[in-house]
């Protein structure tokens, strides 16, 4: 894909002069204007662009918030309140940033679900997928530390619980925890270093995003059929086709984002976080932000400190090896009649774990959390390898063009495509 022939021709003397010295415009044109994109991409392929916009929105709003925020135990909570009340448009900027985190995670979960459903993690896209998992981990670290900065009760006790996870590590755990805190408990020292890291990590994310896009443009985009681009008729240029589709989806996504920002900015948060951090009293019911709930449910499902921590980190780490756990050579779940249902059950499992993570850790909630945690890991460790071996894939179109146009002149192709579409 990256070696496709670009039709870039420099316009004017300066463009030509520049092109001989730094062919930046040639590269941008080749990668983002006439880059061949599969002609059958659906709206699930628009979240990559949306995530780019969210990263920029978070960095821009975060930069201006950092001009007013004071990273000390004494002043942090008050400075956030001052931002909401006194700073010009501070209420708007703060809502953009706080709601933005939720929208960022919403988009990334849909983006990941797309990758799972259409087999975007499979060869030759393993590195692309692993870079994505790294971005996801960095996002989680950034989101977690950003939430800490508000210095409310949920911030404080969330930090306490999550940093205490490291104490589960045998022998060195306690020392690591103290090192993270810089104190003998979570304190202003911890807050200050979280602020530094919260400022740094988005730029690290931006760097990995560049690698992610690079890897994407080497192997090219996957598509709903999971069939690679074979001929010219399988693809359309990125501009205007993919760009316009992205732009429309972005506008719709922004409407949802704006609705939360203007009409329900606190809906996705928790009221306890409007009580200033108090190291002497834990709220009765601590929950993380909604986007961490499935992993929090896995942590609580295991009745052993180290086991719970390992399961929680393992639930994310396992994503890095799924390109090799999945034994099927069919990419798209559209043509995998068995796997498809297991995958939908997996999506249901993640949502269910999210629900259970927000409930108290008692009674049947724990029991169900264990059932779903078991399925979470069984899906990757058992279902992915076994189903790939025993399943008979359904008939596939011969090419992307066949899938779209219903046959490239041959009846067999048309029948196959029709059969594929019927599902």
């Amino acid at each position: 894909m990256s070696d496709h022939e670009s039709n870039y021709t420099p316009k004017g003397a300066f463009a030509k002069w520049m092109d001989d010295r730094l062919p930046l415009m040639r590269m941008m044109h080749g990668q983002f204007v006439d880059f061949p994109t599969p002609r059958n991409l659906n709206y699930m392929w628009t979240f990559g662009g949306i995530l780019m916009v969210m990263l920029v929105a978070q960095i821009a709003s975060g930069l201006v918030l950092s001009m007013h925020f004071q990273p000390s135990a004494a002043a942090a909570f008050d400075s956030v309140e001052a931002i909401r009340r006194d700073v010009n448009y501070g209420w708007l900027l703060r809502n953009i940033h706080a709601v933005g985190a939720s929208m960022f995670f919403l988009a990334v979960y849909l983006h990941m679900a797309r990758g799972l459903y259409y087999g975007s993690y499979k060869a030759p896209r393993e590195i692309l997928w692993i870079l994505g998992v790294i971005i996801f981990l960095l996002m989680m670290a950034t989101g977690f530390m950003g939430y800490a900065l508000v210095w409310g009760q949920m911030s404080f006790w969330g930090v306490t619980v999550i940093t205490n996870l490291f104490s589960a590590i045998p022998i060195v755990g306690e020392a690591i925890r103290t090192w993270l805190w810089g104190d003998f408990a979570v304190s202003g020292v911890t807050l200050n270093r979280f602020f530094s890291l919260h400022f740094l990590l988005p730029f690290v994310i931006a760097g990995v995003v560049i690698l992610h896009i690079w890897a994407l443009h080497v192997v090219g985009q996957n598509n709903p059929t999971g069939i690679e681009i074979k001929t010219k008729s399988d693809s359309v240029p990125m501009l205007p086709f993919a760009i316009m589709k992205d732009a429309f989806a972005m506008a719709v996504f922004m409407v949802l984002y704006a609705w939360f920002v203007f009409f329900a900015p606190d809906y996705l948060g928790h009221p306890d976080n409007y009580i200033e951090a108090n190291p002497l009293s834990t709220p009765a019911h601590i929950v993380p932000e909604w986007y961490f709930l499935p992993f929090y449910a896995i942590l609580r499902a295991i009745p052993n400190k180290l086991g719970g921590v390992l399961a929680m980190f393992g639930s994310i780490a396992i994503l890095t090896i799924i390109p090799w756990l999945d034994t099927s050579n069919i990419r798209s779940a559209k043509y995998r009649p068995m796997f498809k249902w297991f995958l939908w059950a997996f999506f249901f499992t993640v949502v269910a774990l999210g629900y259970l993570g927000g409930k108290p850790a008692e009674g049947s909630y724990v029991l169900w959390a264990r059932v779903f945690t078991a399925y979470y890991f069984a899906f990757f460790c058992l279902i992915m390898p076994i189903v790939g071996l025993i399943e008979t894939p359904s008939k596939m179109p011969r090419s992307i063009t066949d899938a779209v146009l219903g046959g490239g002149g041959s009846m067999a192709g048309a029948a196959a495509a029709a059969a594929a579409e019927k599902r």
Binding site: D34, D86, V87, N88, Y89, L92, T231, V236, F241
Partner: protein, 207 residues
Amino acid sequence: MASGTKASDTKPDHGIGAAHDEHGPSRRDFITTAALGWASVGGALALWPFIQQMNPDASTQALASTEVDLAPVKEGQAITVLWRGKPVFIRNRSKAEVEAAKAVSISDLSDRSARNDLMPDSAAASDQNRTKKDNENWLVLVGICTHLGCIPKGQGLSDQRGDFGGYFCPCHGSHYDTSGRIRKGPAPRNLEVPPYEFVSATKIKIG
């Protein structure tokens, strides 16, 4: 888009910037321009909060006025107070200083504007225009040199007060007279008179 192969064989024709032939701009050109125009308006509006957030916030605006009790300041003495983060010079001038300030002819001044925040720029730089009637002994000035923002000398008893007996800025050698008007040196304007009023016989409110 019915024939992808054919389109890519010939010259690329994908809408933006294309398809305005001898018939003039096409409907697509109109839609593209209108959409980009509308997006630019939205972008510009979205930028406004990001710029405005750097201006003084509500808590800063709330501290915009200061009350000062003048009773302890005897004739010939001066005090400096803080108003909006800036030093304000308040001097109880001696009779000789007031007379010296009044005796100056406007034509001798390099800046002939009163520089009184409560008066228009056209007001002449007479001592009357820079003080309050019946309280001519009180001189209230923003103590910031109009050259590059240093604080001039002259408030302290042992300070050098320049060739005209008012204030002297040591940074670049600007001399101000007993009404705070620039007489010599690089400063372009007279020292600013902040908005203030007497709320009682011995108390003023600045701002």
